[in-house]
Symmetry: C2
Subunit: 315 residues, 2 copies
Amino acid sequence: MIDCNEAIARLDWSREPQGLYAPIAYALSSGGKRLRMQLALTACRLVGGNEQDALPFAQAIEVFHNFTLLHDDVMDRADVRRGMPTVHVKWNDNTAILSGDQMLIEAYHLLEGVPQQHLPLLLKLFTRTATEICEGQQYDVDFEQRQDVQIADYIEMIRLKTSVLLAAALKGGAIIGGGSEKQQQALYNFGIHLGLAFQIQDDLLDCFGDPQTFGKAIGGDISCNKKTYLLLTALDNADNDQRAELRGWLAHTMASTQKIEAMKQLFVATGARSAAEHAIAEHTQQALQCLLTLPDNEHRRLLEQLAHKLAQRQK
Amino acid sequence: MIDCNEAIARLDWSREPQGLYAPIAYALSSGGKRLRMQLALTACRLVGGNEQDALPFAQAIEVFHNFTLLHDDVMDRADVRRGMPTVHVKWNDNTAILSGDQMLIEAYHLLEGVPQQHLPLLLKLFTRTATEICEGQQYDVDFEQRQDVQIADYIEMIRLKTSVLLAAALKGGAIIGGGSEKQQQALYNFGIHLGLAFQIQDDLLDCFGDPQTFGKAIGGDISCNKKTYLLLTALDNADNDQRAELRGWLAHTMASTQKIEAMKQLFVATGARSAAEHAIAEHTQQALQCLLTLPDNEHRRLLEQLAHKLAQRQK
């Protein structure tokens, strides 16, 4: 089986100009789960394909994902990623912009290596997905200013920002593995629900996670009034008193442990926390449902385990 | 014949989220010469093809070019482009980054529309060219800090930053038009020399242009000590006194008309100005030479006229 971290480390960034390529090597060196790459390779094997055929596509997806992180970190002014200074901190904003652009181009360069008969379809899938992710990022930015965001808007935003890349990784792997259109679509849908469960779990952990295991400070979303699944549900479910209390804390723009604690209690009292837990369980179930028509092999069981693990993860 | 401005204006950016797409529409609305698009269409016709077949490729090249301008303007903190506020001024840096990313993705989206038998080759050409342009931009940045830049380094930098896109536009048009590999290569080489002549002419106009016709302030490159063809040649050609004088002015980091005038005189006295004029004439001749093996038709004459016009342009 392909070792994803090793396959990413094998990409060569030693060429000139190093001012362009060293930040790319750095951004790709910090590890991470390589989840999207794993999904592409697993989907290929699941439908009976040879995972080596899916490697360039899987690498393209992984490089693309890390490109989005690089540019997102500039836009969010995030200083740390996976315990390391971000590229715009270690170098500067211009480097992060230009090396990020080059990473996106490198992702397309890797796509040149896909089995040629699948190139047109994979190119379309890749580009449509990249577009959706930019749209999701823009909606996320827009939501900061909007006061009328509904839960359905939020779900659509995280579908675009998070789910479609997992889904496209799986579908692309299935295409390369010779899966039927039905299988491709089933895996795509599995990825969509997996992504939604993953993102709502992320919202939950940011608020109710164990600071020891979560790895970052708890309550970051609360401090910046981020319109998460929890906050939007709390605002929806709140009675008049609770809504007034929520609005009061939202007007507190200073970060404080007092605000974090009060909001957490409101998320519990309004039922937002249990709604989020329910939504995660629901999307995990729907994800597993998508797998039922697929070959019942060890690769499918890997995806099933992954869905269970993501729903229960503590970090 | 296809009207390039009209063909770019026809691209539809009215979809949501407008926060992502309105800046793209804006960046593409300010006109410009659409030179790269013209080159692609002309090359297609020149080798006997139907220019309609080359339209998606030509649009992809033009959208890509405007993506590079958008991100370059952020990195250079340029406030105005073609008489209009730049995207990061009219909106903000984050918008310029994200909408720029999306423009690059849109360029690849347009590539999906090329004649399918040429897709693998055009995709490779496009991606290699995009990589070279990022490398050229990085070299340009690196040169600001380096004190050992040679004229050959500078030529290589502008080949990457400016020439390869003109060359790729021409070669792609020739591929789509059914031109032979020799014809494709001849047109590519024409583009390389055209780009070099164009860029050195740009250096010359920035320094010796007529402020009335040039459209921007004269001496911008001198004020920021930009290592242009003129400055590098002047440093190469200078005698000891002239070199001391050049170094003295380079140490003046304050912009002043006195510095601009003194440097201009040194560029004349060291022969840098005439060397630049000679280099432009030389690359224009070499460009024209590349055309000699191609069909002697009206489209070739259009390229010949273009080469003459660029060499003599005053803005």
